[in-house]
Amino acid sequence: MASIGIVSAQSMQFAAPLSLQSGATISDYTLVYETYGELNADKSNAVLVCHALNASHHVAGAYADQPNKFGWWENMVGPGKALDTDRFFVIGVNNLGSCFGSTGPMHINHDTGQPYGADFPVVTVEDWVHSQALLADVLGITQFAAVMGGSLGGMQALAWSMLYPDRLRHCVVIASTDKLSAQNIAFNDVARQAILTDPDFHGGNYYAYGVVPKRGLRVARMIGHITYLSNDVMAEKFGRDLRTGKYQFDFGVDFEIESYLRYQGEKFSEYFDANTYLLITKALDYFDPAASFGGDLTQALANTKAKFLLASFTTDWRFSPECSRTVVQALINNKRDVTYAEIDAQHGHDAFLLEDPRYHKLVSAYYDRVWDEIQNGRGK
């Protein structure tokens, strides 16, 4: 199917301070975003796509100077695709604290004249949602047709439904959860420890030293990558295959899986920022909207007004189907409109980014319904 083609990023400056959940504030910040498709006259066809850990505002299409490098959800978003840019005005926003353009730890803190580094405030899913709402204000979008995301992006979509119940008609939550398990937090902390204990980390101020804590980032990515894949896929893709066909009897690379993970880690350490990794994993760990309702997710979701689509993948053990079912159950308790699909896919958590006809047809069918509502004037 066709791509949206060449796209370019835009940025929006915000002078007014944004109060963060931690109690800190951030002012004079920038949000970088991309849009695809056309906003209709009554501004009822906007869809916000929220990104996950290592992604960005670059959801679909390609930049003129890198025409073969497509956005992270290229298979989902574009003309004639499940989220059809011929129908919807799609917005991707880079979150605060990221390393892809919006204000983050590598940018200059105007108060000190130095890069934020470790002083960049810890941001939460809710903080991101508030900042996205401010961008929507500027773009003149009072109500989204849908807010959508996978994994950490799904958390943002879910947070939208609770924080701004009147500002979205549909909430699309893929391979996500209302809160991380202890095991999930544990993986995140191992990743953080790898970064924090890298001698090149320098307490987060490595920019001043002209170094990058690459060893820590590599290990962090390797751990992450293991948890995004299913055991079956790893077994099928790598098994116990050896690089050279025999054991080396040293501590270099023997197995193909080692080679693959090191390659992934290396690639990641070249483009991702260590402080951003710390911030984003914290945002994941902290998300728990039921916490302020005594752990009662049904109550937490009681003020939502959107209709929901949730989907999970059978082999995803990082954000398992049980996690999605918990959210579905709380929505059913509130008699919310909810559709839930459990996609039998072998690729683990990564499945939400991959092309799978059952998955994409389902999302497409759901967006047909969103579109029908707009067409029939029920989109307001």
Partner: protein, 199 residues
């Protein structure tokens, strides 16, 4: 998994829908392509959810715009709270379940009323097949014994006993033939048994 979507069921569901009240909150267990819920939503302003396991039916239900939850109903209805629904439908699905009694108890738990239908094994051509020494194969039971999804074969009389056992009161029981109720010798002449039950 269920067979709501077979074409001759339209008359059945028109008949069955008379037992569902206006604006009822409905759970359709084994909702197939969602045709029944869609009908109840548009004609009776009902709300609710369908449950399906098969990918293609989940997609078809989503295309119809009903709330479908992909679940294996064999594992029960734990997602749903007690007495959450005015009416629970289980149409032409129960006979595919291994744990019929467990599911029926769960249906009784989540609903105030239930409507259950299944192919009547005692339909006279079925009896005739058995008399001739063959498992019945008919329009109502179109599969061979070795590939049928209908793992539980029951007659109208059999089901009444189970309904009573799980604490459900039979309000009405109708045998349908081509979507029309059979009043004379229903257990012999009806292909589809339909029960209206209350706790």
């Amino acid at each position: 998994m269920s067979s709501h979507d077979s074409t001759n069921l339209r008359a059945d569901l028109a008949f069955i829908s008379r037992w569902v009240s206006e604006k009822a909150h409905v759970l359709d267990v084994g909702c197939g392509d969602g045709v029944m819920l869609d009908y109840l939503e548009s004609s009776k302003h009902c709300t609710g959810y369908g449950i399906e396991i098969a990918d293609d039916k989940v997609l078809a239900s989503t295309q119809r715009g009903i709330n479908v939850i992909q679940l294996d109903m064999e594992k029960g209805l734990d997602l749903f709270p007690d007495a959450a629904f005015d009416t629970v439908l289980c149409l032409s699905s129960l006979q595919m379940m291994k744990n019929v009694e467990g599911l029926l108890r769960d249906i009784a738990r989540v609903g105030r009323e239930a409507i259950v239908s299944f192919p009547n094994f005692a339909y006279w051509p079925h009896r005739l097949s058995l008399l001739c020494g063959r498992m019945p194969v008919s329009k109502a039971l179109p599969h061979d014994w070795y590939n049928t999804p209908n793992v539980r074969c029951a007659t109208i009389s059999d089901f009444s006993d189970l309904a009573n056992k799980v604490g459900l009161q039979v309000l009405e029981c109708v045998a349908l033939q081509e979507g029309k109720p059979v009043s004379f010798l229903p257990n012999l002449r009806g292909t589809l048994a339909v029960f209206r039950l209350r706790k």
